[in-house]
C-alpha cells in the first residue's frame, strides 16, 4: 500500500476517490438538481437504452454537471424508444424520443449543459396522478 506522505498526496488521493461518492453527494440534494430518467423496459433496452444511459452518465461526469440519472419503466412510447425524461428544477418535465447514443451526447451538451431543446420532443399527452 502506498503511504500518504503529504497534503498534496492526500489531495490527489481524494480527487481519485471522490467520484466514488459523487452519486451519494448528489442524492443529498436531489430536489435542486436536474433529474434524468432513462426508460429501461424491454422495448427501451432492445433499442439501446443501456448504452444511452451509459453515455449520459459519462458525458455528465466529464462536464461535471450536477445531474441525477436513474432508470425508469416503460413510459408507453415504445415506438419512440429509447426515451429519456428530463426534469429541471422548477420546470415541467420534457420527454425526448429516439435518443441514440450520439443524440444522447447532444442532449447533454445542448439541453442539460445549456438550455437548448432538441427535436424529438414527445408532447405531454397524459396526466400524472400526483398532479391531480
Amino acid at each position: 500500500m502506498e503511504k500518504i506522505k503529504s497534503l498534496a498526496d492526500l489531495k490527489k488521493k481524494r480527487e481519485d476517490l471522490q467520484s466514488n461518492l459523487k452519486l451519494r453527494e448528489l442524492g443529498d440534494n436531489v430536489d435542486n438538481l436536474i433529474q434524468v430518467k432513462v426508460a429501461m423496459a424491454t422495448c427501451g433496452i432492445a433499442s439501446g437504452a443501456k448504452q444511452v444511459m451509459e453515455v449520459i452518465i459519462n458525458e455528465c461526469n466529464k462536464r461535471n454537471l450536477p445531474v441525477v440519472v436513474t432508470q425508469t419503466g416503460c413510459m408507453g412510447y415504445c415506438y419512440a424508444e429509447p426515451t429519456v425524461e428530463v426534469k429541471k428544477p422548477g420546470q415541467e418535465a420534457v420527454v425526448f424520443g429516439y435518443i441514440t447514443p450520439a443524440k444522447a451526447e447532444e442532449l447533454v451538451n445542448k439541453y442539460l449543459a445549456g438550455n437548448e431543446l432538441l427535436d424529438g420532443i414527445i408532447p405531454v399527452n397524459y396526466e400524472k396522478i400526483d398532479n391531480k
Binding site: 500500500m1 502506498e2 503511504k3 500518504i4 506522505k5 503529504s6 497534503l7 492526500l10 489531495k11 488521493k13 481524494r14 476517490l17 471522490q18 466514488n20 461518492l21 452519486l23 451519494r24 448528489l26 442524492g27 443529498d28 436531489v30 430536489d31 433529474q35 430518467k37 429501461m40 423496459a41 444511459m53 451509459e54 452518465i57 459519462n58 441525477v68 440519472v69 436513474t70 432508470q71 425508469t72 419503466g73
Partner: protein, 597 residues
C-alpha cells in the same frame, strides 16, 4: 472500474443489525449477482442513520429514496421494482403520521428537517470500514493541514475561538483544556478518548464510532500534535463489540496509509493509538477513574488536583476528551472557527447529538443546533408523545441530570440554560416521559443505578445514596412520612457537597429535580397514599364495583392468589390482604367492573 448507477446504503448500526440488516445486505448481494447488476449497483453498509424507530433503514441513491423497516424478504421487490423498473416501493416508504402521505426523500421527513449533522456528518453516508470513502469526504485533510502549518498553538487558538465545549457532560472548553495540557512539559504525554458511554439509554458515542471511526482517529492525532502527545488511547467499553471491531479495522487501514505511525505526512510527528477496554463501570467515565482503570488499577476516582493535565496516565500529563467532542474537531479545522461559532447560542456553540428515547414516536439518534427548543425536539423531530398521551417531563443528563417539565418546553437548549433549569446537558441522553410515568419511581430508578454503580470509595456516595434509595422505596410503598421528604432534601444536599467525584456530586440531582418540579406527587404518595400516575404497585388498589359485576367468575378463575371470592351470578369481592396487584383480573373483566383506585 465499475461505473455504479445506484448505491444501496444499508444501516449497519447496532440497532438495525439487531433487526437483521446484515441479512438484508447478504440478500441484496445475492440478488445483484442473480440479476446481473454487479457493475451497476453498489451495496454499502454504513453507520447509523439515526432513525432507529423505523429501522432497518435502506437508502437508495442517487434518487435519495428512504426505505424504512425493511425485512430481508423485501430485498427482491426493491431490486425488481426500484432498480430494474424504476418504481418506488410505496409500502416501504415513510408514512407521515400527520398528513398520512408517503415521504420518499428523507429531506422531507419531520425527523430530519430540523437536524444539522456535524458530528454525525458521515454516519449513514460512508462505509465505516473503508478509509477511501472517509478520505473522499475530506478525511485526514484537517490533520494534514495542521501538520503542514506546524503551529500547535495556532490550532489550539482555532479550537478555543470556535467555542467548542466538552460533549461528555461537563461542558469544559476544549481548546482551553488542550492549552493547559500543552503547557505542561514532560517526556511523554497522552491523548485519551473517553468512549465509556455509561448513561442509561445513551448511544451517541457508540454510533459515531460505529459509523465514522476515522474521524476520531484523525481528531486524536490533531489533539496529540497540539498538546505534544505521541500516544493516543481509546478507552472503550467491552460491551460495544461492533464499535471495537470497526475501530480496529480503521486503525489498521490508517496505519497502512501511513496516517498513523512514524513521521505523519512527512513531518517528524509520530502518533500511534491503542485501545483499552473497560468492563462497563459507570464511574470509569469520570476521567481520573478512567485513567486508573487504564493503568490496571481499580476504577476509582481520585481527588483533583492534580488534574490529568498535570498528572494523568502513568503520572504523565494527559488530556481526556469525549468521542463526540473529537468528532467536531476535523470539521472545525476544515471549515473554520467562524463557521462553527456561528451555530448555536452565545455560550454554547455548534450542535449536540441526543439519543431520543422513552415515550416518544421517533426513537433515535438526532443532532441539532444548540439553542433549539425542547418543543421542537419532541414534537417536530420526535413526532410527539406515543399514543397521543400528554407530555409530562423529559429527563436529560442521565443519572446526573434532572427532569424538565412543560414550563421549559420553549427554553433554548444549551449548557447554561439546562443547568439553570435544574438539569444538565450530560452526554446527551434524552428520555421523554408521558403522564403515566410516576416521578418518584423515576427518581428511584436513577438512584438504583447510582447505588449499583457507586465505586464505594467515599461514604457520602456509598452510604448516602443507599439511604436516599431506601427513603424513596418507602415512599413508593406508601410508608413515607413528611419528615422523609425533608431528609431527602437535606441528605441530597450533603451528598452533593461532600462526595469525591462527579458521580456522587450529581447523583442526587434526579431526586432534587423531581422534588422541585413534582412536589405534589411526592405529597400524594406520602399523605394520601396514592400514586397519581398509577405506577406504584403497593399504592394501587383493585376494586370490584358490585353494581357492574354480574358474577361471571372470570376474575376469580384468573387470580393467581385466590384473592377474589364470591358465588356465581353474585357480585365478587377482592381481598386486599391477599391481592398482589398483578392486574390480571382487571384485564380479564369484560364488564368494566374492576377499577384501579
Amino acid at each position: 472500474m465499475a461505473n455504479y448507477k445506484y448505491h444501496i446504503l444499508i444501516c449497519g448500526g447496532t440497532g438495525c443489525h439487531a433487526s437483521q440488516s446484515a441479512q438484508i445486505k447478504i440478500n441484496f448481494e445475492q440478488l445483484i449477482v442473480e440479476k446481473n447488476l454487479v457493475d451497476d449497483v453498489q451495496i454499502v453498509e454504513t453507520g447509523c442513520f439515526g432513525f432507529c424507530e423505523k429501522g432497518p433503514i435502506v437508502k437508495m441513491l442517487p434518487d435519495n429514496t428512504f426505505y424504512t423497516q425493511v425485512k430481508p424478504e423485501d430485498c427482491k421487490e426493491i431490486i425488481e421494482e426500484h432498480i430494474i423498473k424504476g418504481r418506488k416501493v410505496e409500502r416501504l416508504l415513510y408514512l407521515d403520521p400527520k398528513s398520512q402521505e408517503h415521504k420518499a426523500d428523507s429531506k422531507h421527513m419531520g425527523f430530519y428537517k430540523k437536524q444539522l449533522r456535524i458530528a454525525l456528518r458521515n454516519c449513514g453516508f460512508i462505509n465505516p470500514e473503508n478509509i477511501d470513502e472517509y478520505i473522499a469526504r475530506d478525511g485526514y485533510k484537517a490533520l494534514a493541514t495542521v501538520l503542514e502549518q506546524n503551529d500547535p498553538q495556532a490550532t489550539i487558538d482555532i479550537i478555543k475561538k470556535s467555542g467548542l465545549r466538552g460533549r461528555g457532560g461537563g461542558g469544559f472548553p476544549t481548546g482551553l483544556k488542550w492549552e493547559i495540557c500543552s503547557k505542561n512539559n514532560a517526556d511523554q504525554k497522552y491523548m485519551i478518548c473517553n468512549a465509556d458511554e455509561g448513561d442509561p439509554g445513551a448511544f451517541m458515542d457508540r454510533s459515531i464510532l460505529e459509523g465514522d471511526p476515522h474521524t476520531i482517529i484523525e481528531a486524536m492525532a490533531i489533539g496529540g500534535f497540539c498538546i505534544g502527545a505521541t500516544k493516543g488511547l481509546i478507552y472503550i467499553r467491552a460491551e460495544y463489540p461492533l464499535a471495537i471491531h470497526r475501530l480496529r479495522v480503521a486503525l489498521d487501514q490508517a496505519r497502512e496509509y501511513g496516517l498513523l505511525g512514524k513521521n505523519l505526512f512527512g513531518t517528524d510527528f509520530d502518533f500511534e493509538i491503542e485501545l483499552r477496554y473497560g468492563a462497563g463501570a459507570f464511574v470509569c467515565g469520570e476521567e481520573t477513574a478512567l485513567i486508573h482503570s487504564m493503568e490496571g488499577l481499580r476504577g476509582e476516582p481520585t481527588f483533583k488536583p492534580p488534574f490529568p493535565a498535570q498528572e494523568g496516565y502513568l503520572k504523565k500529563p494527559s488530556n481526556v476528551n469525549n468521542v463526540e467532542t473529537f468528532a467536531n474537531i476535523p470539521v472545525i479545522i476544515n471549515k473554520g472557527w467562524e463557521w462553527f461559532s456561528s451555530i448555536g447560542t452565545e455560550k454554547s456553540k455548534g450542535t449536540k447529538v441526543f439519543a431520543l428515547a422513552g415515550q416518544i414516536n421517533n426513537v433515535g439518534l438526532i443532532e441539532v443546533p444548540m439553542g433549539i427548543t425542547l418543543r421542537e425536539v419532541i414534537y417536530e423531530i420526535g413526532g410527539g408523545i406515543k399514543g397521543g398521551k400528554k407530555f409530562k417531563a423529559v429527563q436529560t443528563g442521565g443519572p446526573s441530570g434532572g427532569c424538565l417539565t412543560e414550563k421549559f418546553l420553549d427554553t433554548p437548549i444549551d449548557y447554561d440554560n439546562l443547568i439553570a433549569a435544574g438539569s444538565m446537558m450530560g452526554s446527551g441522553g434524552m428520555i421523554v416521559m408521558d403522564e403515566t410515568s410516576c416521578m418518584v419511581s423515576v427518581a428511584k430508578f436513577y438512584l438504583e443505578f447510582t447505588v449499583e454503580e457507586s465505586c464505594g470509595k467515599c461514604s457520602p456516595c456509598r452510604i448516602g445514596n443507599k439511604r436516599l434509595h431506601e427513603i424513596l422505596e418507602r415512599i413508593t410503598q406508601g410508608k413515607g412520612t413528611m419528615e422523609d421528604l425533608d431528609s431527602l432534601r437535606n441528605l441530597a444536599q450533603v451528598i452533593k457537597d461532600t462526595a469525591l467525584c462527579g458521580l456522587g456530586q450529581t447523583s442526587p440531582n434526579p431526586v432534587l429535580s423531581t422534588i422541585d418540579n413534582f412536589w405534589d406527587e411526592y405529597v400524594a404518595h406520602v399523605v394520601d397514599h396514592k400514586c397519581p400516575a398509577g405506577q406504584c404497585k403497593a399504592l394501587k388498589k383493585y376494586i370490584i364495583d358490585p353494581e357492574k359485576c354480574i358474577g361471571c367468575t372470570a376474575c376469580a378463575r384468573v387470580c393467581p392468589t385466590n384473592a377474589i371470592t364470591g358465588t356465581v351470578k353474585m357480585p365478587h369481592e377482592i381481598n386486599q390482604e391477599l391481592c398482589i396487584k398483578c392486574g390480571s383480573c382487571y384485564e380479564k373483566c369484560k364488564f368494566n367492573a374492576i377499577s384501579i383506585k
